[in-house]
Symmetry: C2
C-alpha cells in the first residue's frame, strides 16, 4: 500500500433532497440508507481499505457532525477530522484538506470522494482508483471518474472528453452541470459524454497549483495557514479562512477551467443517491414494483418507495407511484415524479417549525 | 330534575373502523376526536347535565377501560362503573345495568346511550330526551331516537314507523340493520324510515320484562344477581354471568321483536362517527376540501382527511380523496372511498404485530 495515497471524504452535506430521512441534525451520509449494516460514511471509508492506510483518511465535515464522524469512524484521530465552521461548498473543503496534507506529505496523491454515494462493485472501484492514483502520481494532472450515463438525467454533471484509445485516461473537453433535458439527451446521443461522479484524484502539489491559478484568493488565504495547521491554532485559523472564502465548488472553480483535467471512464455501479427516485431505482422491488423498508402493509399499491423506521407500522391502500417516507416525527407522502418538490417542502417546513428539518 | 332519571353510557367498544386513531388500548370514546377539549365520553356525560343527577349516571365498559373512565369522569363512584369481563354486545350490557339500577330504584327511567356518537345540537337533544323520558315514564313502552336520513347510508340501522300526527312518538313497524344500497335507497324514497341512533329510553321494569319475554336465558342469569349486585360479590357474579350470556345486540334481541317499541323522530345533528368518512363529512373543510388536524402541509392535495398528533409533521403532495391518519406509531394512507377496508387492515396488522392494533 502506497503511503503517499490519501483520501479526503467530504461529509458536510445536508442531503435535503432526501428529507425527511436526511435531516439537518443527522444527514444522509450518517444513515444506513441501503440497510447494509453500515452507514454511507462507514461504507465510503471501508471502500478505501487496501488503497490507502487508515491514518491517511481525512474526513471534512461541518463542526456539528464531528461527533457523528467520531462515533462512526472511531479509528480516526482528531487531526483526521477537518471541522468546517460553515458550509462553503467543495472548493474551500478541498483546499483545507490539501494544504493540511501537503504540510505532512508533499508527495501525497489525494482522492477526494463524497461520503453519500453508492458504489455497488467495490472491487472494480478499487481497481479503477488504483489506475487513477498511478496516472496522477506520474503527471501533473487532475483526474475525475466518469460514469457511462444510462439516461438523460438532468440532476448530474456531464463531462465531454476527447477519445484516445491508446490512453487509460481521456482528456476532458467540457464540463456541464445539470443540463436541461433536451441537452442531456443530445449528450447521451453524442456518445462522448459521461456523468461526473464527483470523485477526483490529484497530486497535492497539482491541486494547490490549480488553486493558485484559478482561485488565487483561496490559495492566498490558505498560504498563511502553514504555521497554524496541525497546531492548536488550526480551528481559529479555519474560522477566519472560511469567513473569507466564497461559496464555490471545486468543479466550477477549478475543474471547468483547468486544461490538465482527465477523465477515467469507469463502471462500478454508481449512484449519487441524490433523490428518493434514485433510491427507488437501485433497490430491489417486490412483485408490485414497490420498494419497501420497514413494517409496511400495502393493498392495491404499486411502484412506490415506502421507507419507515422499525418501530412504526405503515398501512397503504390505493397508491401508485408515490414516495412514502417516515422518519423522526415527519411523514412525507409525495408523487414520485414530483420529487424535485422535496426541497420546496423543506423550505416551507423550515418556516413553519425548524424542528422538522 | 327527576331523581328517577338514569343514564347508562355504553363505553366498551373498540371502534376499529377508526383505526389507527381508535386503538384497543385507547378506543375512540376516550379521545377528543373533534378537538373540542373533551373526550367523546366526557361530552356524552355532559350532555345529560340537567337531565339526570350525576349519581344516576352509569358507565358500562370493558374491565380494561375502567381506569380510563375513572380518569375522564372523576365524579363517578366506583359503583357507577360497570366493568364487563368480555364484550358481549349491547344486550348483556343493558341487562347488567337494568338489574343493578332496579335494585336501587324500581321506578327508574333509563336512557341507554353510546359513548362515541356526535350530537351537534345539545339543547334540542335534551329537549327530545325529556319528551322520551316523559312518555316512557307514563307507559310500559320502549322508545328509540330516530334520525331523518340524509343519504342511503348502508352503515346504519333503519327504523320504519306508522305515522301518527297526533302523537309525539311513532309506533315502530320494522327494524332493518345495515341494508344493501338499493334497499337503503328505497327506504329513503318511501319517507317512513329513519336512522336508528342507538339511543333507547325505557322504564327499568319495562326493559326487564322485555328480557324475560325475548331473552329469557339472559333474564334468568341476572335474576340470580339480586344478592350479589352492590356487594363485593358483584364482580365474580358478572364474570360468571357474562360467560353464560350469548353475544347479542339489544336491537336484535329485543327491539326488533317487541311490540311496544316507539320511535321519537329527532333532529339534533347526529352522527355515529363510525368511520373516517363520517368524520370527514361533519368537520369543516378548507378551500381545497381538506379536513386537517395537526401539523400538516399540503400541495396539490384535495378532498382528504388528514389527522395527526401535534408532535408530528406531515407533508403531502398530490393526493385526492384520501384518508391520512397517524397515531401512536401507526400511519394509515387509504382511499377515502375504500374506508370499509380499514377493518381488514386491522385484522392483517393483528396477525403481523398486535402492538399496532
Amino acid at each position: 500500500m502506497n503511503q503517499n495515497n490519501y483520501v479526503v471524504i467530504m461529509a458536510g452535506g445536508i442531503g435535503s433532497r432526501f428529507w425527511p430521512f436526511s435531516r439537518v441534525k443527522h444527514p444522509k451520509q450518517f444513515h444506513d440508507v441501503l440497510g447494509q449494516g453500515r452507514t454511507m460514511l462507514q461504507q465510503t471509508s471501508l471502500r478505501f481499505e487496501g488503497v490507502c492506510p487508515n491514518e491517511n483518511i481525512f474526513v471534512v465535515t461541518n463542526k456539528d457532525y464531528v461527533g457523528l464522524v467520531k462515533e462512526q469512524l472511531p479509528f480516526l484521530y482528531d487531526d483526521q477530522i477537518l471541522s468546517e465552521p460553515i458550509g462553503r461548498n467543495t472548493a474551500p473543503c478541498v483546499a483545507y484538506a490539501a494544504y493540511k496534507i501537503r504540510q505532512k506529505n508533499p508527495h501525497a496523491i489525494i482522492i477526494v470522494a463524497p461520503s453519500d454515494h453508492v458504489i455497488f462493485y467495490e472491487d472494480q472501484f478499487r481497481e479503477q482508483i488504483r489506475i487513477a492514483l498511478d496516472e496522477a502520481g506520474r503527471d501533473n494532472i487532475m483526474i475525475t471518474m466518469g460514469i457511462k450515463p444510462s439516461s438523460p438525467d438532468t440532476g448530474y454533471g456531464y463531462i465531454q472528453y476527447h477519445e484516445d484509445h491508446n490512453s487509460k485516461i481521456q482528456k476532458v473537453k467540457t464540463f456541464t452541470e445539470k443540463p436541461v433535458f433536451e441537452l442531456a439527451q443530445k449528450f447521451i446521443e453524442s456518445g462522448d459524454f459521461v456523468w461526473n461522479a464527483g470523485i477526483f484524484i490529484f497530486g497535492v502539489q497539482t491541486i494547490i497549483s490549480a488553486f493558485e491559478q484559478f482561485l488565487p484568493e483561496v490559495a492566498e488565504t490558505f498560504e498563511e495557514s502553514k504555521s497554524m495547521l496541525w497546531t492548536s491554532e488550526e480551528n481559529n485559523f479555519i474560522q477566519r479562512a472560511y469567513s473569507q472564502c466564497k461559496n464555490i465548488s471545486i468543479d466550477y472553480g477549478i475543474m471547468e477551467k483547468a486544461s490538465n483535467v482527465f477523465v477515467l471512464l469507469s463502471d462500478f455501479g454508481w449512484s449519487d443517491l441524490g433523490t428518493w427516485k434514485s433510491l427507488y431505482d437501485i433497490l430491489p422491488k417486490n412483485s408490485n414494483g414497490n420498494v419497501v423498508q420497514g413494517n409496511v402493509l400495502t393493498y392495491n399499491t404499486t411502484n412506490c418507495i415506502i421507507k419507515t423506521s422499525g418501530d412504526k407500522m405503515v398501512v397503504i391502500n390505493g397508491l401508485d407511484n408515490f414516495i412514502v417516507a417516515e422518519h423522526d416525527n415527519v411523514i412525507m407522502i409525495c408523487r414520485k415524479d414530483e420529487e424535485q418538490k422535496v426541497k420546496d417542502f423543506v423550505a416551507d417546513v423550515k418556516n413553519k417549525d425548524s424542528r422538522f428539518i
